[in-house]
């Protein structure tokens, strides 16, 4: 982890309210792993509204160009500021942060990736890293509508198997990704599972895995409002349960954002 400044290479609208920002950073490219994030200052250097930095997961890394990218949805002051930046501008960020996913050098393993909405962002970098090590990857993702067609185009380049769902039927099959999984869970009993998406989706996944007695490892990437991003303020906690059935609040920024689904307590 380092406090870094990086030149913006591109900052483009790729769908309604969704942008992709690519940043030059040899340090990040050398050190980051899938599932990690950066904490970006989303205001001019001496302006403090919005006050806190904003965490964004790493969407992609292109080693040859020494760039990494993030996806962001325009939501408030912070993301509006990001949107206003242009190639050549410099962003101030801390990274790479969080535990992330160490992709094993051994290949030929099976991975099931499950995404919901903006939660697909870190799964792209993960899928790409897994494919690079010649693993078998299946991606299932669900969206509200057809705003993520760009994501399907990106995924197609990785040449992995995938299935997309949308609630309104405008992109992929009509339905929700958790229903699909509920019906097909037996096909994925020997897969390692990584998921990222809304809390309700992760909660349903945990229930499906419990109900079907899924023994293999199932992980999820979590998101919370953060302040420090490095584990000191204890602000971004989620409730977990340990082996002795004791509840512990763990920080999403440092203990996570990757947790085993079985240890997370949804309330």
């Amino acid at each position: 982890m380092k406090a870094l400044k990086g030149e913006i290479i591109s900052n483009d609208k790729i769908s309604e309210n969704i942008y992709k920002m690519t940043v030059f950073s040899p340090y990040m490219v050398k050190h980051c792993i899938p599932g990690q994030f950066v904490n970006i200052k989303c205001s001019e250097s001496t302006v403090y509204d919005p006050l806190l930095r904003r965490p964004f997961s790493i969407y992609d890394v292109e080693e040859g160009f020494k760039v990494f990218s993030i996806l962001y949805l325009i939501k408030g002051k912070g993301t509006k500021y990001l949107k206003s930046l242009e190639p050549g501008d410099v962003i101030d960020f801390l990274g790479p942060l969080g535990n992330g996913i160490k992709v094993d050098d051994k290949s030929d393993k099976k991975y099931l990736l499950i995404g919901g909405g903006m939660g697909v962002a870190p799964l792209f970098y993960l899928a790409k890293s897994l494919i690079l090590k010649k693993n078998n990857v299946f991606l299932a993702a669900g969206f509200k509508d057809n705003k993520f067609i760009f994501f399907e185009k990106a995924i197609q380049l990785l040449k992995i198997n995938y299935q997309f769902f949308s609630e309104d039927g405008s992109h992929g099959a009509k339905g929700i990704v958790t229903d699909f999984l509920n019906n097909h869970i037996d096909e994925y009993r020997d897969y390692t599972i990584y998921s990222c998406g809304p809390s309700e989706m992760l909660k349903s996944l945990k229930e499906i895995f419990l109900r079907n007695n899924i023994k293999n490892k199932a992980y999820a990437l979590f998101e919370e409002i953060m302040a420090c991003g490095i584990g000191v303020c204890k602000g971004c906690v989620i409730k977990t349960i340990d082996k002795d059935n004791k509840y512990i609040y763990k920080t999403v920024c440092k203990d996570g954002p990757l947790f085993e689904l079985k240890e997370v307590v949804f309330e």
């Binding site: 001496t46 403090y48 006050l51 806190l52 409002i225 420090c228 490095i230 971004c236 609040y249």
Partner: protein, 311 residues
């Protein structure tokens, strides 16, 4: 590195000597270990650790954070691993990294503070001072509940002071209307100085769900939004000539630090800024050196309390 130990920055706050007047506030900097990955935290005048209690505390129900206009509401609830964790697991690294630690402690009664102090005896030579957290607004017992009662403040301060041979700092709340009385009782108990201000009690509500935005309903407000309140509190306590003051509350720049010293602070604490500008301490210390040179000061403490108000 030498710059940060420029003799003109060295200050005495009561019987506490610091190489420079920049301190990290409790709860915003861990024990300085994480931040040491970003820059050498030994340059800082002192790092006040996260508050440690006798037993581990799990903290409050999330959500614990809510951003407001130029402010941050938190209701962490003093989640910590307990005093033994600091002594066994953190202090060796704090020493190795040459961090100057002020240990913040939190008890729910004078008895607990006494027990905490007795556990600290064996490591007190490693510490610059201890800070008594008598002002956290996010816990039901201890914190502000204890810190708003003058008798308790004096009793707790006195117990810790008598057990230890190192200076005792009392961290005060802006939420009590008897600030000067409390400070006087901290002095009677033997405090070397006070830290002022802890967070202001605040609240935020989600208009869609009608629910408070913090799991604990209320929390403590910090950041630039509270700076004017902090300055006024420090100014009023300085005028009352009770104890030296470590001033804090929304300091984000060296200019802010100068303002706090003019209002009466002998040293300044950086808190929320640590989440926003990771290397704030470096910029602020450098800014103070430039200010000293530009104004031909012998020492930064020359400006403490020198605001020209009503003279």
């Amino acid at each position: 590195m030498n710059n940060f130990a420029d003799g003109r920055l060295a200050v005495n706050i009561g019987d506490i000597y610091l190489k420079n007047p920049v301190i990290m506030c409790s709860g915003t900097f861990g024990s300085g270990l994480e931040y040491n990955e970003i820059y050498e935290t030994q340059i800082i005048g002192a790092v006040v650790t996260k508050s440690f209690s006798l037993k581990p505390m799990e903290g409050n129900k999330p959500p614990r954070l809510c951003e407001t206009s130029s402010g941050l509401l938190n209701s962490i609830g003093l989640q910590n691993e307990g005093i033994e964790f600091f002594i066994q697991d953190q202090l060796p690294f704090v020493k190795k990294l040459k961090i100057s630690p002020i240990l913040s402690i939190l008890g729910t009664s004078s008895l607990e503070f006494a027990e905490l102090a007795s556990k600290i005896i064996k490591i007190e030579h490693e510490l610059i001072a201890v800070e008594l957290n008598l002002s956290c607004p996010n816990v039901n017992k201890g914190g502000i509940t204890l810190g708003s009662i003058p008798d308790s403040v004096e009793e707790v301060t006195s117990i810790v002071r008598k057990t230890l041979n190192i200076p005792v700092i009392v961290k005060l709340s802006p939420n009590n209307d008897n600030l000067i009385e409390i400070a006087k009782r901290a002095k009677s108990g033997g405090a070397a100085c006070v830290s002022l201000i802890n967070t202001l009690i605040g609240m935020a509500i989600d208009i869609n769900t009608f629910k408070p935005k913090l799991g604990n309903v209320i929390g403590g407000l910090s950041g630039p939004a509270i700076k004017p309140v902090a300055l006024a509190k420090i100014f009023s306590l300085y005028k009352a000539e009770v104890l030296p003051i470590i001033g804090m509350g929304g300091i984000f720049s060296w200019e802010d630090a100068i303002e706090f010293m003019l209002a009466g602070a002998s040293a300044v604490g950086l808190g929320t800024v640590n989440f926003v500008e990771y290397d704030a301490a470096i910029n602020i210390i450098n800014g103070l050196i430039d200010f000293i040179s530009k104004n031909n000061l012998n020492n930064i403490s020359d400006i403490t309390g020198k605001v020209k108000a009503g003279q």
